[in-house]
């Protein structure tokens, strides 16, 4: 006797995963998170409408216009220097927050904290290295960005004021780097900052006062460390973010990036 077995098609794991993914993408939760135009939304197609939505409906990307001039996406024109400076700023913020967990800005603890960060914190040395090298790289990239803008004559009308904002941002970058230089509280930090701040004392009329306020005394000491720590992790980043916002906003208001030559 021949028995027929009713053969149901076997559901493979791949199909199950696909089905699960389908129902997840169709769910209300998913649709409430990813706004229309998001590439993670169900049924995303590469259409001009969706390309616009990707920018408009994203808090991160809407810094950009929906469309940019064709020459503006040429890497050989900008060398990505402005964008990389900003990206390094973000990288420095993230690594800096990590470092803050293991660091106390007191003359007694600072150096020891860095030492133990390097030896006994997972990824501590790595993150410290990244913070330091990214900082040097950011100074370099901001410098190069300025040179690039100058050589392209991109500071000319209507972008004059944005250039001024840029020079302020360059100064802030140097100040951020310089205040961070002291924080390891080693011989390199102490004496490099001594050399730097001695120069400040020679400013006419208010030199001594400026130096006193910045150092929290007549010489570098525990007060200076706390002061520069607060400047480094709070005040200068805060001011920088404000000027960055103005800088980016003006790039768009002044008609996008300059050129072509």
């Amino acid at each position: 006797m021949a028995s027929t077995i009713e053969e149901k098609p076997r559901v493979t794991l791949k199909e199950r995963a696909a089905k699960l993914g389908e129902s997840l993408q169709g769910s209300q939760v998913w649709n409430s998170i990813f706004r229309p135009g998001s590439i993670f939304r169900k049924g995303y197609t590469d259409s001009p409408r969706n390309r616009s939505y990707v920018i408009m409906n994203s808090v991160l990307y809407h810094l950009h216009p929906v469309k940019v001039k064709r020459h503006a996406v040429k890497v050989s024109y900008t060398l990505c220097l402005g964008g990389l400076s900003f990206f390094l700023f973000i990288l420095l913020t993230i690594t800096g927050i990590f470092l803050m967990f293991f660091y106390r800005p007191t003359a007694a603890d600072a150096w020891q904290d860095i030492q133990s960060l390097q030896t006994s914190v997972t990824f501590g040395y790595m993150v410290r290295n990244m913070h330091r090298w990214a900082a040097h790289l950011m100074v370099l990239s901001v410098f190069l960005h300025m040179a690039r803008v100058f050589y392209h004559g991109a500071y000319k009308a209507p972008r004059e004021f944005n250039w001024v904002v840029g020079v302020i941002l360059l100064t802030l970058t140097l100040l951020l780097s310089f205040t961070g230089y002291l924080l390891p509280w080693d011989q390199l930090a102490l004496w490099a900052v001594t050399v730097g701040t001695n120069m400040m004392g020679y400013s006419p009329v208010i030199g001594e006062q400026v130096r006193f306020v910045l150092l929290g005394g007549v010489e570098i000491g525990a007060e200076t460390l706390l002061r520069w720590y607060v400047l480094h992790v709070l005040l200068f980043p805060f001011v920088t973010v404000i000027f960055l916002a103005i800088h980016f906003w003006r790039v768009r208001k002044d008609g996008g990036i300059s050129g072509p030559l």
């Binding site: 940019v68 996406v73 990505c80 020891q112 040179a147 004559g153 000319k156 010489e219 030559l261």
Partner: protein, 240 residues
Amino acid sequence: MTEIPEHLLKRAQAAREKAASQGSESSGGGDESRIPDHLLERSKAAKAGGVAVADKGGAVVAAPAGGGLPVGAGPGGHTQRLLTVVKSGSIQDVKAVPVDKVHTWPHLLSIEFVAALGCTAFVFLFSWFVNAPLLQAANFNQTPNPSKAPWYFLGLQELLTMFHPMIAGVTIPGMGLIALMFAPYLDRNPSNKPEDRKFMTSLFTVHLMFWAVLVVISSFFRGPGYNFTFPWRDGIFFEL
């Protein structure tokens, strides 16, 4: 005031002269009227029949020719006046040349993503192989020889060997920063083409190179006591 184009002024002048000469010759002016015959016919018929004509424009223009001039009519029988000429560019943003644009996604975002990824990879790998320096704990009683500022201030430190500290540490960098800030207001040349900007390009390059040379000298050619050395002879006295 909006400037009235030359050709319109001329046309108005010609019309005025023509009207004046017409007025002196004949008050009727039937023959020399610019109104087409068929419109005149139609308006006459309309007046005779007392029927309102749908073609209002014809009726209005025809009126002075048919009867006497209406009150307020200008020379030549015009019932309208040119108050102003608005050029299209002044109220409408006429894009003479359409700008060639591309969508930010994916054209720009993908480049930015790759750049950010490359940057992260570079910093990560560099940090993997090169450690940040950490010297002995700060000691106020022991001055390292030489003591140098961070590299971006080494140009200033080099200037200190040549000038009074107030000149080297305050005046020169201060003037430099102010000159940099005012560059767009001082540079009156509107062109951004490299061939038109030879002077500015040279000026900037000279300063940049001058600064770079100072930084390099101070970084690598200054040894104990901040005296001049050769890095290949005495080694490098430089920490990042």
